[in-house]
Symmetry: C2
Subunit: 203 residues, 2 copies
DNA sequence: TATGAATATGAATTCATATTCATATTTTAC
DNA sequence: GTAAAATATGAATATGAATTCATATTCATA
């Protein structure tokens, strides 16, 4: 940010700008969003945006900062130790439920990243978050199924994460299916995919 | 296209331009590709590109036209009538195998669309292709499992298509997993996901 | 209520990229 | 061999979006 708002008016303006930007980024993606449109939606002028943010990138960075704390909590709250005794259903449930809560409360966040593939900046800002997530779910898999080789588990983790991300995107884009339905099917896909893997190796 | 090439020289130039553009679009996405870079890669000048193509969009349209015939053949070759007697494995195999062949021979095509999410033009050009695909696989499902309601089948089709598309993208982006491996896992994901659905309803 | 700091404004500027155009070269057809 | 058509070139221009900046207004504080 170029300068922190000092007055109540400024703080409000920054809030409004962030909300408008979040909304617009979610609708059209980061690259397709223009500063003029953000200003228009925020009921302000481009100058006021640059009063507080050094550039368009700064707006996105501020948004990511706002969200990133919540994002990491989604995964760190989970106790990996508990997993060896759980069934595949329970493991997936334990991973997907907090994610669902987060998505429900941060629809824009999900939409921004689902609509901004191809933006180098967005990819860059998401990389650490994705990395954190991948590492966390990988730990969970390793804890739950120590008898399977880490290399195999990494592959399954990759597949599962890809499926999850794409179905989250589907929930956002399609009017034919609700978020709840998507999560229900997501759970089915993952459980049914992983069950034979774990059973076979677990015997 | 602005004008068809008349001479051998022109036809060659158009070919080279299309190949260079296809490559670049695949690498960085349609929006991030510049005409200057396409010209540089094609060893020609921007003027020569505009000799044959009316604009950047025209290059993409020409590429899509080149591919679209092959794409549709992937699906129309499949005989939907044969499906009622097939197992889930066989159905998925029958759908995925031709797709795999197509992808193998048209890596760029897949990459362009996997790297150009967020481009309005690319979405627009892909819409009919995706629609055709969705309709075709939906028909296959309906033929194979007439006892399941079309509405349900549509939902499963949506989920399956989303999974397939995302895993194709994974194959392109990740160095950790090969195209063959991706297709193997894709087959597992789909078969395991759909088997309980079909068994339950089929009894 | 006066003064400086904070905030607001949008026209002007910058900048990157698409597109055009005047001009040059090569090929074709007679 | 030569004129017309086709193709080639890249500097000039057009375009649109990000960013700046001179100027105006509002707020906090004495």
């Amino acid at each position: 940010m170029r300068s922190e708002p000092k007055q109540k008016r400024g703080k409000q303006r920054v809030e409004i700008i962030l909300n408008s930007a979040s909304e617009l980024f979610a609708e059209v993606g980061y690259d397709n969003a223009t500063i003029i449109e953000i200003a228009a939606r925020a009921g302000t002028s481009v100058g006021s945006i640059y009063q507080f943010f050094s550039n368009k990138e700064g707006i996105l960075r501020a948004l990511v900062e706002k969200y990133v704390e919540d994002v990491s909590r989604v995964y760190t709250d989970i106790d990996a130790e508990a997993f060896p005794s759980m069934t595949v259903e329970e493991i997936m449930q334990a991973v997907l439920l907090p994610l669902k809560e987060f998505i429900r409360e941060n629809r824009d966040f999900q939409a921004i990243f689902s609509n901004s593939t191809g933006s180098n900046l967005v990819e860059e800002l998401m990389a650490p978050i994705n990395g954190m997530w991948a590492q966390r779910t990988n730990e969970i898999f390793i804890n739950a199924y120590p008898q399977i080789s880490p290399k195999e588990l990494k592959k399954y983790n990759l597949i599962c994460m890809t499926v999850v991300k794409s179905l989250l995107g589907l929930a956002h884009h399609s009017d034919d299916i609700s978020l709840d339905e998507v999560f229900e099917e997501m759970q089915h896909v993952l459980v049914r995919y992983m069950t034979p893997v774990f059973e076979e190796m677990g015997e």
